[in-house]
Assembly symmetry: C2
Homo-oligomer: 407 residues x 2
C-alpha cells in the first residue's frame, strides 16, 4: 500500500455490509455419528451483485473450483454455497456433476439461477461428495434469520480449524460509508499462492466487476499469498468477493483515490483473515513474522522469506525455542536468491544474532528469550538492494505431525 | 546406467582398495563431558593419488568446503581429514584459518604438504571450531594400524546418525581387479543436490583426474542427488574420491567400456551409501521409494518426484500408515510439472490406488496394508511421455521434530 488509509474495524463478518444474509446447517457430510457438526454455509446477496474470485494455482483443481470458474462469467452473482468435510477433489466427472447439483440446489432454494451461485468445498480429497445430503438441507436452510448468521457460517466451514475466522472494516468512498466483511477457514496445506483455504468476502461498494477482480487479486497478493504453514498448496483454495452496490454513491469504474482506498480496506480484511489462519495452523504453538529486506529483487525477497518460513528444520527449532540461526543461513543459501554470505544480518525481535554472516556479540540467551515467545519476528537483511517481503508463518510441532498422520 | 554390469560387494569400506589407511580419534570437539566420543577421522593414501569432489550447491559454503575446493587443484592429493561435532560454517575469516590449520595439521602429521590434504566438517553451524583440539590429536592419531580403521572412521564422522555407513565393490577393468570403497554420514538436512552429508571414496583404479571428476559427478547424480529426508540442503555437503592407481593396468583416459564399468561400480557404492543415509534419517520409521514415470520431460519427472518426497503432509500420512493419495495428487498439481489430472495413476507397492485421476476399485484396506510396511514404493504414472525419476525418502515423524527442536 502506498500510504496508510483510514478504516475502522466493525463486527458482523459477511453480514457487516448492507444486504447480505448467511445461514448454516449440519447436513451430515462430516464423518462420525455427531450430526450436530455444522458443515454447510450459504451466503446470499439480497440484491444483484458482481463477483470476483481468486483460485488455487494447483493444476489439480477440485470440481467446485471448475464449476465456480464457469459461474463467475455470470454478471449477477447472488450466492455462495460452501461445504466442509469433503473437498470434492479428484472425483472425476461424478464430482463435477455433484458440484453442479450443489449450485442448482442453492439456486432452487433461493429462487435464482444455478449459475448465479458460486460454490466451495473443503475436506478430504478423493472421496465422493454425498450431494444428496446438501440437497436435503433445503428448504430448511434459509428459514432462520440470516442477518446474524456470519459466525455460524464461519464455524460451518471449519475443518481442523479451532476457531471461526471473521473480519470486517468500514471505509468512506465517494462520500458514502462502505463496508467490507468476510469469513475464512484454513488449518492445513497453507502455502503462498493460495492456502487450503476458503474465504468469502461481501461488500456493499458499487464497483465494476473487472475492477473488483483487480482489487481482489491485489489484496490476496498482500495477504493470503503471504502466509505459509506447511508449504503444501491445496486443490481447493478459493477467495470469493461479492459486491452489491447497496452503499450507493458513484460506480467505481477506474483506478484512482477511491479505488486505492477500497483496495486498502479489502486488503486489511484479507490480511486479518490470513493472520487468523496462520495463528490457527495445525498444531501451531508459535506465530512468526519472517521479513527479508535488502534483497536484490522482489523475487529474491520472496524466495528467501518463503525458504526460511518453509524450512522444516527452522520450524522445528522454533518449536523448541531454539534460535538456531545457522538453519536460517542455510535456507538463505539454498533458496536461489542472490546472496553474499558475509553481508547477511539476522535479527530476532530486533536483536542482532548475525552480523556480516557470523555470530554477533549479543548473548545467545537473550535471543533465545525472543524465540521462546508465542509471537516474534525474524528479519534477514541481505544488504544487496531495497526489495523486501514478509511472510507470516508458524513453527512445526509434534502435534502437527500427529494431526496429519491419519484420518 | 545403460546396462547391468558385474561387480561384487566386498568388506572394508575405505580400506577395501589397495593402499589406503584410516584412523580416528576422540579429540574433544563433540560437546558434553564424554571424551570417548569419536569426532575425528583421517583417510590416507600411501601412494600418490588424484582426487575429485562434488560439493554442496548452497551459496553459504562452510570453510572446509572453500579450503578443499582450493586444495583440489593439487594433482597429488594424499589425505582427507574430517571432523564431526562442528560444521565450521558461518564462521568468517577465523573459520577459514581454522580450516587451513586442519589441513596443515594433517599434512605435518603425515609428512605431506597441507594442500595435499582435503578436509570436511559436520555438525552445528556458526560455532568456532576448536582447531587446537584437532592439532593436539597428532601425532598420536596415526599410530594405530590404519589398515582396518574404516568402520571406526565411519563412526567418528557420525552426528545424529545411528550407525556407521560403509560400502565397497570390486570390478574388473582392463584385466585387473579394481576396488572402490567408501564411508559416509548423513542424518538431517538431507536433500537432492547434496545432503548434509560427508562421504569419502577410495579406489585403486588408474584413472585421470578429469575423468575421475566426470565419473563422480555422474555417480552422485544417480545416488546422493536422489535422496531427501527433509528438503533442507546443507552448507557442508561433500563427496571426495581418491584414486591411487595401485590396481595397475592401463591408465583410464577416455570414455569407453572400462570407464562405463568403473562409473557403474562407483555409482553402486554411492547408491548403497545413499540408501543407508536415508534409512538412518532423523526419526525415520519408513523408507519410501518414490518413482514418477511417464513424465513429459526429465525435469518434470524430477520436480514431481521431489514434490511428493518433500511434502510435509504426504510424509506425515506415511508416518501414520495412511496412503492419503489425495496429498500426492495435490503435490503433483503444484510441483510445476506438466500434468493432466485425469491421466494420473498412483500405485502403492504395485497396487493401483488412483486410475484416471480418481480412486481405483482396489480396497483401501489393501493399500493401507502396503503403507504400514517399513519399506514400500509409491509410483505416479503421468502418461504424458517417457521420462522417469526415482527419489529415496522417508516419513516425517514426531521423533524427527523432537530431534530437531533444540540442541
Amino acid at each position: 500500500m502506498a500510504k496508510k488509509l483510514e478504516f475502522e474495524s466493525v463486527p458482523g463478518g459477511v453480514n457487516a455490509a448492507v444486504g447480505y444474509l448467511a445461514w448454516s446447517a449440519a447436513c451430515g457430510i462430516k464423518p462420525g455419528a455427531d450430526k450436530s457438526k455444522q458443515d454447510l454455509a450459504l451466503i446470499f446477496s439480497e440484491s444483484p451483485s458482481v463477483a470476483a474470485a481468486v483460485f488455487t494455482t494447483n493444476q489439480v483443481k477440485a470440481a467446485p473450483v471448475r464449476v465456480s470458474q464457469a459461474h463467475l462469467k455470470t454478471r449477477n452473482v447472488r450466492a455462495v454455497l460452501l461445504n466442509s468435510g469433503n473437498a470434492n477433489a479428484c472425483t472425476g466427472a461424478p464430482g463435477l456433476r455433484a458440484a453442479e447439483r450443489m449450485a442448482a440446489a442453492a439456486g432452487a432454494g433461493l429462487g435464482v439461477h444455478a449459475n448465479q451461485v458460486l460454490i466451495g468445498s473443503t475436506g478430504r480429497i478423493g472421496v465422493s461428495l454425498p450431494v444428496e445430503k446438501i440437497e436435503a438441507a433445503f428448504p430448511d436452510l434459509t428459514k432462520a434469520d440470516g442477518r446474524s448468521g456470519s459466525t455460524a457460517a464461519a464455524r460451518a466451514i471449519m475443518t481442523s480449524d479451532t476457531f471461526p475466522k471473521e473480519s470486517a472494516v468500514r471505509v468512506r468512498l465517494g462520500g458514502k460509508r462502505v463496508t467490507i466483511g468476510g469469513i475464512a477457514k484454513g488449518a492445513g496445506m497453507i502455502n503462498p499462492n493460495m492456502a487450503t483455504m476458503l474465504a468469502v468476502l461481501t461488500t456493499d461498494a458499487r464497483i465494476e466487476k473487472a475492477l473488483l477482480q483487480r482489487a481482489l487479486k491485489q489484496a490476496a497478493e498482500h495477504s493470503f499469498n503471504c502466509i505459509t504453514v506447511d508449504g503444501d498448496m491445496s486443490t481447493n483454495d478459493t477467495v470469493f468477493v461479492l459486491a452489491n452496490g447497496r452503499a450507493g454513491g458513484p460506480l467505481l469504474t477506474a483506478r484512482g483515490a477511491d479505488y486505492e482506498r477500497f483496495t486498502a480496506a479489502l486488503t486489511e480484511v484479507c490480511r486479518h483473515l490470513a493472520r487468523q489462519i496462520v495463528e490457527d495452523g495445525e498444531g501451531v504453538t508459535k506465530f512468526v513474522e519472517v521479513r527479508v529486506s535488502g534483497a536484490a529483487s522482489a523475487r529474491d525477497a520472496r524466495l528467501a522469506a518463503e525458504a526460511i518460513a518453509n524450512s522444516t528444520l527452522v520450524k522445528c527449532a522454533w518449536f523448541g525455542g531454539d534460535p538456531n540461526w545457522g538453519r536460517i543461513m542455510d535456507a538463505l543459501g539454498y533458496c536461489g536468491a542472490k546472496l553474499h554470505e558475509d553481508h547477511v544480518e539476522i535479527f530476532y525481535g530486533g536483536l542482532c544474532a548475525v552480523r556480516q554472516g557470523v555470530a554477533s556479540k549479543v548473548a545467545p540467551a537473550r535471543i533465545q528469550e525472543v524465540v521462546r515467545r508465542k509471537k516474534f519476528m525474524v528479519e534477514a537483511k541481505l544488504h544487496l538492494g531495497t526489495a523486501e517481503h514478509v511472510v507470516f508463518t508458524t513453527d512445526l510441532s509434534t502435534e502437527y505431525v500427529k494431526l496429519n498422520m491419519g484420518e
